[in-house]
């Protein structure tokens, strides 16, 4: 079944953000256990730089999505699956936005100003507050774990559609036309 694709900018931003999210999560997870040293400082700097990039991209993406609606889904699936899909997509957007914001807040509360690739400093969102910093740190980690669970669900669902249902759903988000077309065989 031929599926209508998302617009090229939407597809591009989806895959770039997917890659950045995996990288930022990996760096964050590794760096949090590092002892204080240059490696930790460099790692967290990259973590923040990528995180701020994600924040910028998700805002751009929301604007794009609002002005360029998703192509119509002409796949029949059980109502619960469709509801789960809608919930997951909403949650992914909310988390992609809130995790970097909470991270930025947490860095400010720790007394560390966030900068962007060493080019310029971003404003401190809150003043130094140790208790608040620790609460935000917990929240940042919790939301990030939640995001990774939803990313896992999102990927598994896509793989199920691709290899079990073979309904060409993945082609909606692919750069090239689907090679998985039921009607073509």
């Amino acid at each position: 079944m031929e599926q209508t694709r998302y617009t090229i900018p939407a597809i591009l931003i989806h895959w770039v953000m997917a890659a950045l999210i995996i990288v930022v999560w990996t760096i964050g997870t590794l760096a949090v256990d590092m002892p204080l040293g240059p490696d930790r400082i460099v790692s967290f700097s990259w973590h923040k730089w990528i995180g701020i990039t994600i924040l910028f991209l998700v805002l751009l993406r929301i604007v794009w999505r609002l002005t360029h609606p998703a192509p119509e889904l002409n796949i029949v699936m059980p109502k619960w699956q469709e509801r789960t899909m809608i919930f997951t997509h909403w949650a992914l957007y909310i988390l992609m936005f809130s995790i970097p914001v909470v991270g930025w807040l947490m860095s400010s509360a720790h007394g560390y100003t966030v900068n962007y690739f060493g080019l310029f400093e971003l404003p401190d969102l809150v003043s130094k507050d140790k208790v608040l910093a620790e609460q935000l740190e917990d929240l940042h980690g919790l939301l990030a774990d939640g995001l990774m669970i939803l990313v896992g669900l999102h990927v598994l669902a896509a793989l199920k559609h691709q290899f079990i249902d073979k309904d060409g759903l993945l082609s909606r988000m692919s750069f090239h036309k689907s090679s998985n077309k039921k009607g073509a065989v």
């Binding site: 700097s45 007394g111 560390y112 100003t113 060493g118 400093e121 910093a133």
Partner: protein, 191 residues
């Protein structure tokens, strides 16, 4: 008549002296108002400025605005009062790779030559010792006499590696910059 003039002259001289002596005393500033004084610095971590300071210091300063070039200063900074970033960073700063406060609990600045540049500006040359290393230091300073206080402000830049601050892998200046701008704000009271 002659006697009268002599008496007047004597009176005016003594008045002048009486008037002068307290004013000379008031011009001597040598008590550091620690609560109002500040020693702060900025360290740059991967492009972000991190401000910090030393809250405990003491010392001897002699300053007379009439003779600024005769000013002398000897400051002792308690390194353990280092304050910047979070707890882990402060603990690290006191450790061996950085200030090693166990072996070197204090830093010290002793002035050598004070040049009066005019317009309330000074050039102070002296020796700064941190972590057992003494290095010559020249700083520009300004001062303002405000009634019974004199306020000094000086800013200069240190290179942390000159003092062996940040040994081992901390020597990497891309993570923590070598240049450390320092600001000294001293408020002196007259005794």
């Amino acid at each position: 008549m002659n006697k009268f003039f002599r008496g007047l002259a004597l009176l005016s001289t003594s008045l002048l002296l009486c008037g002068n002596i307290p004013s000379v005393n008031a011009a001597e500033f040598n008590v550091i108002d620690i609560a109002k004084s500040k020693i702060t610095f900025t360290t740059k971590l991967m492009g972000s400025n991190l401000n910090g300071g030393f809250s405990k210091f003491s010392g001897k300063v002699d300053f007379n605005p009439d003779q600024p070039e005769k000013a002398r200063a000897n400051l002792v900074i308690e390194i353990a009062s280092f304050n910047a970033g979070g707890d882990d960073l402060q603990e690290e700063a006191r450790g061996k790779d950085w200030f090693n406060t166990k072996s070197f609990p204090t830093a010290n600045f002793v002035s050598d030559v004070v040049k009066n540049l005019g317009n309330n500006r000074l050039e102070i040359t002296g020796k700064l010792s941190i972590k057992g290393k003494a290095m010559p230091l020249t700083m520009a300073a300004t001062y303002q006499v405000q009634g019974k206080q004199v306020v000094f402000d000086s800013s200069f830049q240190l290179l942390r590696l000159d003092y062996g601050l940040g040994a081992g892998n901390w020597a990497d200046t891309s993570a923590v910059a070598n240049e450390v701008p320092v600001k000294v704000h001293l408020v002196l009271n007259s005794n």
